[in-house]
């Protein structure tokens, strides 16, 4: 799986960072930064949770 972000949609709520700060961060503008774009193992569940919880639908998962 591959995590994709959409800065046009991101509203900087930070829900993804709260879900897992190892996978997500916010840049200087407060917009999402994906730190691990190919999460594996337990990170996969966190990535799915972040996609679900994002209020702006700014995250998605693409299958390779």
């Amino acid at each position: 799986m591959r995590l994709e972000k959409d800065h046009d949609r991101c509203i900087g709520a930070g829900q993804c960072v709260r879900t897992d700060p190892r996978i997500f961060d916010q840049d200087d503008d407060g917009l999402v930064k994906v730190l691990i774009d190919r999460p594996r193992g337990t990170d996969e569940a966190a990535a799915h949770k972040a996609v679900f919880i994002c209020p702006a639908k700014a995250l998605s998962i693409a299958q390779d």
């Binding site: 509203i11 900087g12 709520a13 930070g14 829900q15 960072v17 709260r18 879900t19 700060p21 961060d25 916010q26 200087d28 503008d29 407060g30 917009l31 949770k49 679900f52 919880i53 209020p55 702006a56 639908k57």
Partner: protein, 406 residues
């Protein structure tokens, strides 16, 4: 797609629906969610709106770009008499704008409330919490926790973020309290709005003359660089941050303290392990979902929500409270359970308007609960719980007073 039959002869339920118990959701919400999760209700001015009560449907409403938040539109539902007229006294708050205007207004400020920025504020929040506890300990007991602690803490935090002098803050708090009262009439609401506007205009002028290291000064500088300072817009931004950032947090402090004092097994959870406080905070947010009025929208086009056709020009109310008690998403939702993972609640809303200050609110609540119960291990209610005065007539649920002793 079906359009739910509306029997014009049957009496529609009136909205807003008042809470009668601090814990249980009014049964009418549950009945709606189970039997007709997208149903028409009647508003105080006789207008009608679709009330949406399921979690998935509430998220669908709040993220649908065809459902407008723009209260300047003629057919926008009037749930609070005078509210739309009062809002017209200000440059539009970002919460009443639709994208792309909304995004333009929100973008410059989102970094001010990022997870990282809020984490950096934590030491100062801790100092503020300790300061107000020190002051409280000097007072004769019992005290009203709301007045001496729950309101002052978030008020000082948010005024420091904006760069607003704390003096004169009581004036602001008084006005805001009247504005948030459900019983305030239309003219009262408009008068208060004019006074608040004047107060904020003055603050903006003072900051332009004497900038500091604060949100307002940074916004002024950013706008100056981008071609010109929009004073009315900055006044609205400050007012929004202040209004959204103090009373809401105060209500959650009071409700959280009340919950843990009356249910010691909940308090034991965070006392035994403060790393559980963040989870407890989200569960308290889910359980109480204090904005009683939900989110209001106006359909700009025909939209289907939960299998029901909502026609262009019709009003929609998404009940975040009912959504957060949806058993399809939260097991045993009527239970306040600190071991639950409730991070996906919609107490801060959902969609592009989700609360800008949510990370700040969470950190404030975490610091407050951890510090208050650590420093005052004998904290207890000073009156029987059944005598407490809950805000069932306000726009935001909470407690009018919380008499405590130790």
């Amino acid at each position: 797609m079906t359009n739910t039959d509306i029997d014009e002869t049957s009496e529609l339920v009136s909205f807003p629906i008042q809470r009668t118990c601090p814990f249980a959701i009014p049964p009418v919400y549950t009945k709606f969610r189970e039997e007709a999760p997208v149903s028409q209700v009647v508003l105080p001015d006789g207008g009608k709106a679709w009330l949406v009560t399921k979690y998935d449907d509430v998220r669908a409403v709040m993220s649908n770009p065809k459902l407008s938040s723009d209260r300047r539109k003629k057919d926008f539902p009037v749930v609070v008499p005078g509210q739309n007229a009062a809002l017209a006294k200000h440059a539009p708050f970002m919460i009443i704008l639709d994208d792309p205007e909304h995004a333009e207004a929100r973008r410059p400020v989102i970094s001010e409330f990022s997870v990282r920025r809020v984490a950096a504020m934590k030491p100062r929040i801790q100092e503020i919490v300790d300061h107000f506890i020190d002051e409280m300990l000097k007072l004769p007991r019992p005290v009203d926790l709301n007045q001496v602690f729950s309101l002052p803490v978030p008020s000082l935090v948010v005024s420091e973020i904006l760069g607003m002098p704390y003096e004169g803050h009581e004036y602001f708090m008084e006005l805001a309290e009247v504005l948030l009262r459900r019983t305030t009439d239309e003219q009262g609401r408009i008068n208060i709005s004019v006074q608040l506007r004047a107060y904020m205009d003055k603050l903006v002028e003072e900051k332009i003359a004497n900038p500091g290291d604060d949100l307002l000064s940074r916004q002024i500088e950013l706008q100056r660089r981008n071609g010109g300072i929009d004073r009315p817009q900055l006044a609205s931004l400050c007012l929004l941050v202040l209004l959204a950032g103090h009373e809401t947090t105060a209500n959650m402090i009071n409700l959280g303290v009340f919950s843990m004092l009356t249910r010691p097994e909940l308090l034991d959870v965070i006392k035994a392990d403060p790393s559980k406080t963040p989870k407890a905070v989200d569960e308290l947010l889910r359980f109480y979902t204090i904005p009683d009025f939900g989110a209001h929208r106006l359909a700009m086009d025909d939209v289907e929500i939960g299998g029901v056709l909502i026609r262009k020009g019709e009003a929609v109310i998404a009940s975040t409270f009912a959504a957060n008690r949806d058993p399809a998403v939260f097991d045993d939702p009527e239970e306040l359970d600190f071991s639950r993972d409730s991070r996906h609640h919609v107490a801060f809303g959902y969609g592009p308007h989700q609360c800008l200050g949510q990370n700040l609110g969470r950190v404030e609540l975490q610091v407050v609960f951890d510090t208050l119960f650590r420093r005052l291990p004998d904290l207890r209610l000073a009156v029987p719980a059944e005598e407490l005065n809950f805000k069932s007539d306000a726009l935001v649920y909470g407690l009018y007073e919380l008499p405590v002793t130790w």
